[in-house]
């Protein structure tokens, strides 16, 4: 329908939405009454934590403003982090580039074109030192966005940096994402199989968790990445059920290694999406709090309350954002951010309005922080805990979604758990179906997107500032990696790498964190370390 036809239809027939289904396909009722919900709710901080994990929630402490950042060289990213902290960011969310996330140095031929594009390019300990220049590791919490096995190295760098600066490890605060399956654009099969042996990936992820639990007690050992799952196009129920069953798999594995559930569960957290269906997203997060609490208490027999706390970092989903009329995305992201706040989450990244054009500019990132600050300080929505609690609609939706998540979790558990389903390709099938359905719904108009499939302005010419990389950034990084490997004492490097190779080949059951630390101290680079392990496992990577 053209814009003029659309307007004609609206005036003739009255403007209305195409249907009353939620994004997950649940029908919203005309009106919700006591007949839909008439239960009692326990207070916040009371099991099963429907209303929140803390008694006072945002009255005592606002959520952390944690914008993901990272691009180009570590020097550039260090400047961006400091800029964000200056404008009011309260936690660091460090993202590294795709080469780093796949264990490749900048000079590896297939990696060269992606150096520094989607995050900071890191390949040496010195890079980490540069990235965190002037930033107090024991004052600001950091989320390190990296998955196993490469999380073992990033964590090693961070711990060694703390040691160099004389900061006791028990004072470090932050999170290593460390989620083995979903970090690389969701649970795409190929991306987790191509650059490292999958079993060794899972195993090294557990090594990291195990290493951190006793030594860095305030550190979160894994952030189950539900966000990247959701961003493939699956619905809220799938997002939650996939994440919960994956978390259960990690817990089973840690218990199998002899750890008590209460020793590690309080250090596990989630990274979830806030999509544009405001009530459904609030209901999803409230339901996830309940499911986590019940799963921990009833299935895993946790005894400590903290083990039962579902803690979530939220990023507003980029899926509803459009390249068309990008300023509309500010409105969308505001509503999504509000959803995260109304749901009582622990930290928020508000996605930039320029998302469909480039990495965020400084201006765009400042606007994201301002969005959160306006919600926090001006709107008064933070004044009461769980402000939507007790609403017939929200409570009935929370119950319904909780039930649907449990149902899907049961299906996955019966198939052997999330990791089994992933290895079998079942998850990939579900994801692909969701992708096609999302595309069909947008094409057919069943999922209205303003400026895209409704009220589209074919002559639209909004100009926004586009983030641009420094011209010679990639060349500089490539040269840096080459020079670094040339100008060092080669003997200790060889010894450390030989040891890693031997361990991988003959003793893969050892915890790899310390051998990786030794390799770092010998001045081995990211790819050298993981190439040694790849050789040990007789594994080749795309070239």
């Amino acid at each position: 329908m053209s814009a003029s036809e659309e307007i004609a239809t609206i005036y003739l027939e009255g403007e209305r939405v195409p249907h009353f289904r939620s994004l997950s396909g649940n029908e919203y009722k005309r009106i919700y009454t006591q007949a839909d919900w008439s239960d009692e709710l326990s207070d916040a901080a009371q099991y099963p934590f429907t209303r929140g994990i803390h008694t006072d929630m945002y009255r005592k402490r606002l959520w952390t403003r944690r914008q993901q950042s990272g691009y180009g060289t570590p020097e550039e990213s260090n400047e961006r982090i400091k800029y964000l902290l200056r404008v009011g960011q309260t936690g660091i969310n460090m993202d590294c580039d795709t080469g780093t996330k796949l264990g490749l140095d900048p000079d590896y031929p297939l990696a060269q074109g992606d150096v520094g594009l989607q995050g900071t390019s890191l390949c040496t300990y010195e890079d980490m030192r540069t990235l965190y220049r002037d930033i107090a590791l024991d004052k600001v919490s950091s989320t390190l966005i990296i998955q196993p096995p490469f999380s073992a190295l990033i964590m090693a760098w961070y711990l060694l940096l703390a040691k160099e600066r004389g900061i006791p490890w028990e004072n470090l605060i932050g999170t290593i994402m460390n989620c083995a399956i979903t970090q690389l654009v969701g649970p795409t099969y190929q991306s987790n199989m191509a650059f490292f042996p999958f079993n060794l990936t899972l195993k090294t992820g557990l090594d990291v968790m195990e290493y951190m639990i006793p030594r860095v007690p305030r550190w979160n050992i894994v952030n189950i990445n539900a966000y990247n799952i959701r961003e493939t196009g699956v619905n809220a129920i799938q997002e939650a059920a996939f994440a919960m069953t994956l978390a259960a798999d990690y817990m089973k594995a840690l218990i199998k290694r002899g750890h008590d559930v209460d020793s590690f569960a309080p250090r596990m957290a989630f990274f979830c999406a806030a999509h544009i269906d405001l009530f459904e997203e609030v209901a999803k997060l409230r339901a996830m709090r309940r499911i986590w609490a019940r799963m921990l208490k009833e299935r895993f027999r946790a005894k400590h309350q903290k083990s039962m706390w579902f803690r979530a970092a939220i990023q507003t989903s980029a899926l509803p954002l459009t390249a068309q009329e990008p300023l509309n995305n500010i409105v969308r992201a505001t509503i999504q951010t509000l959803a995260a706040v109304l749901a009582g989450t622990q930290s928020i990244h508000t996605t930039g309005y320029d998302e469909a054009h480039s990495l965020p500019t400084e201006e765009s990132q400042r606007l994201s922080i301002r969005t959160q600050q306006i919600i926090a300080y001006e709107t008064k929505v933070v004044n009461s805990v769980d402000p939507l609690g007790g609403s017939y609609l929200i409570e009935s939706l929370t119950d319904r979604i909780e039930e649907q998540i449990w149902e899907l979790m049961k299906i996955i558990e019966e198939k052997g758990g999330f990791i089994q389903c992933y290895e079998d390709g079942w998850i990939e099938e579900q994801v692909n179906e969701a992708r096609y359905m999302m595309a069909d719904e947008i094409e057919s108009g069943q999922r209205p997107v303003i400026g895209l499939n409704m009220f589209r302005d074919e002559d639209e010419k909004t100009d926004i500032e586009i983030f641009r990389y420094a011209q010679d950034m990639q060349a500089r990084r490539i040269r840096y990696a080459q020079d670094y490997k040339k100008n060092r004492n080669q003997e200790p490097v060889k010894r450390a790498l030989d040891k890693l190779y031997e361990l991988t080949k003959h003793k893969p059951e050892v915890n790899f964190v310390e051998p990786i630390m030794e390799a770092v101290e010998s001045k081995a680079t990211l790819q050298e370390i993981f190439d040694a392990m790849r050789r040990g496992a007789d594994f080749t990577i795309p070239s």
Binding site: G113, L117, Q190, H357, S358, R435, A439, E443, I466, S543
Partner: protein
Amino acid sequence: MEFKGKRIVLGKLGLDGHDTGMKIVARWLFEAGYEVLYAGLYNSPQRIVQMAIEEAADAIGISSLEFEHLYYANKLLEELHAKSLGDRIKVIFGGVIPKDDVQKLKQLGVNAVFTPGTRKDILIQGINDLFASTF
């Protein structure tokens, strides 16, 4: 004009793993009568061109969401020209590509560029037109 049976290699170059758009486009092309040769992730330009040669493809479609489009368009076209295939094989780019760069890609010799929010009919028509001009 007959587009049925035209063969398109669809893939990503370098390390970019964002494959949702490419999978949707693969289905759209298939439904429109194209033969899609799915190269998936982590290809080098050499590998994609080699695949296009082996499969006697009429076009190469590259999905790019990490801002690597200019880097790889250069390399891909160099490789095609080195094999004297610049005229025979059409090159299509799709993904997160800023407006200014669409022009740059076309100047390099990319035949068509599609950006986020492109509707199915527009995309298919745009690709059909590439082949129409050769009849």
